[in-house]
Symmetry: C2
Subunit: 311 residues, 2 copies
């Protein structure tokens, strides 16, 4: 027991939060005392014997961790660092749903003031800005995006081929990079979206060397919202190394950006994206960044008994 319990106290305060049902166990570690071992992260995220979550988010002062200090040099406003761990205990660079929940947590517990123009958050992918919108949603700048296939892929609309269990024939697909790799497939209609069997990973050609997330999308047209055109799409996502999930923030961005590329020069810059876990909004900003907006819910807080958790 000494391994996973090393530097873990007898009880730990936690908060459970989610963004479009991408859910997290948040732990404030203001004194940077907590050693989040992979075994401890797996115990916390276990959905039956633990709290349950897609990941653990440790909220730690940037000045207290090496990765954070480097970011402070770049942006002194990034006083809090998002130490994100996947449910399997591995490190993750970023999580588009998680960074919104992180900001909501800072606000709820009085660690940051989002009333004036948003905040800077330190992450392993660099500094990310998050602001709160009047409707209570949080909007996060997820940085620069790109089409790995370049202008050729953009004009052809495809640079990959994906085979999905449950759907006939291989489909043309477009690769999108949001700091992590995505491959987006347009389906004919919502019936195909339902018919797709994502219990097994879609087969992608050419096979990406370090894998790819795969988004299945159905464009649902455009409409005018507050004087601006807004596109709409519905999607499902297969996350690399995880399986199908209820939501993936960068996946929603990739899906919107691919559909926007397919729609051509006059395509909307703002997209409403229906994921199984709710609704997100993706904006392609003029500066080449992509912004993800959506809800961030903090639903419960409490205390974990570490000995009971680790059995």
């Amino acid at each position: 027991m000494s391994g996973p319990q090393a530097r873990v106290p007898a009880t730990i305060q936690f908060t459970k939060g989610h963004g479009t049902q991408n859910d997290f166990v948040l732990i404030a570690d203001e004194d940077a005392e907590l050693d989040l071992t992979p075994a401890f992260v797996r115990a916390l995220t276990n959905r039956r014997a633990g709290i349950g979550g897609d990941g653990v988010i440790r909220v730690v002062p940037s000045a207290a961790v090496e990765e954070g200090r480097a970011l402070l040099a770049e942006d002194p406003d990034a006083t809090w660092f998002m130490d994100y761990r996947n449910a399997d205990g591995s490190f993750a660079e970023m999580c588009g749903n998680g960074v919104r929940v992180f900001a909501a947590f800072l606000e709820r517990f009085g660690l940051a003031d989002l009333s004036a123009g948003g905040i800077a958050v330190g992450t392993r992918a660099g500094v990310r800005r998050v602001r709160r919108e009047p409707n209570g949603w949080y909007a996060a700048d997820l940085g620069v995006w790109s089409l790995p296939g370049g202008a050729g892929a953009a004009s052809e609309g495809a640079d990959a081929e994906v085979t999905v269990t449950g759907l006939p024939v291989a489909r043309a697909a477009l690769r999108v990079d949001i700091g992590n790799p995505h491959t987006v497939v347009a389906l004919a209609d919502e019936a195909e979206l339902v018919a797709a069997d994502l219990r097994t990973a879609p087969a992608v050609l050419p096979a990406p060397p370090s894998g790819t997330n795969v988004e299945l999308v159905v464009p649902l047209g455009e409409r005018e919202v507050e004087g601006r055109p807004m596109g709409r799409l519905r999607m499902r996502v297969f996350e690399r190394g995880v399986g199908e999930t209820r939501s993936c923030g960068t996946g929603a961005c990739a899906a919107a950006l691919a559909v926007r590329a397919w729609a051509g020069a006059l395509a909307p810059e703002v997209w409403s994206v229906d994921v199984p876990g709710g609704q997100l909004r993706v904006s392609a900003r003029p500066d080449g960044h992509v912004e993800l907006a959506g809800p961030a819910v903090l639903l419960a807080s409490g205390v974990v008994d570490v000995a009971a958790l680790l059995g």
Copy 2:
């Protein structure tokens, strides 16, 4: 929102517990004020947008609810009633893992004293006695069991036939009643146990009118434990209306009692049962009752924000 929130306060204290990874959200309702609507139960048990659990256990004084008052007339010691709800919001009569966690909860929060001979618990299946063992496990008397097929089924060892996806040919099976219906299938070895695909319900003939839980078991022999023979088996379970689960208390009982019937007159009365979520012990008592023993873990307590939960 008025429906699910009716008579639900702004915040609710909860505890998350599990028995061999059959997990529950426990709520103490000492003044019997809480109206557990199906929608609220579904929100609480949602594993991503809620706390998550196989069910909700409301801990309420027997005297405060009609079902409980009838039990008090039968056994005045049954002062607490286990109001168990399945994750879908429906009522359940009993839960063999849940009643142990219920007892651990009473003890933890000073609502009952288990140091002297155990306690009586009111449940929809009647009064159940639970005691704490020296090793920290809890043992619950689950009442009278029977073989619906009677002596004929016992001597033949089978009164049903089960077809399991992933396994060749239909298998002979024995029906066992533990207050709820079970059908137990012996497999040849652990390789078959692994090969069984329980993503779909096994087909049972004759088809039971109100369905059945199905247990796949591999007997693992006997050994001497503290001077008494103890049988051992490994199992997986498909729960009626739910799917495969990590553990099912009455399912473990049914599995042990079926293997005991197959083993004949000299079979052990006590069985160690390995379920995917851990280990249980089942005893066939001389009085015709079956007793289920195993761990009961209370791993976290906290406060749910009801408005955030109900979105």
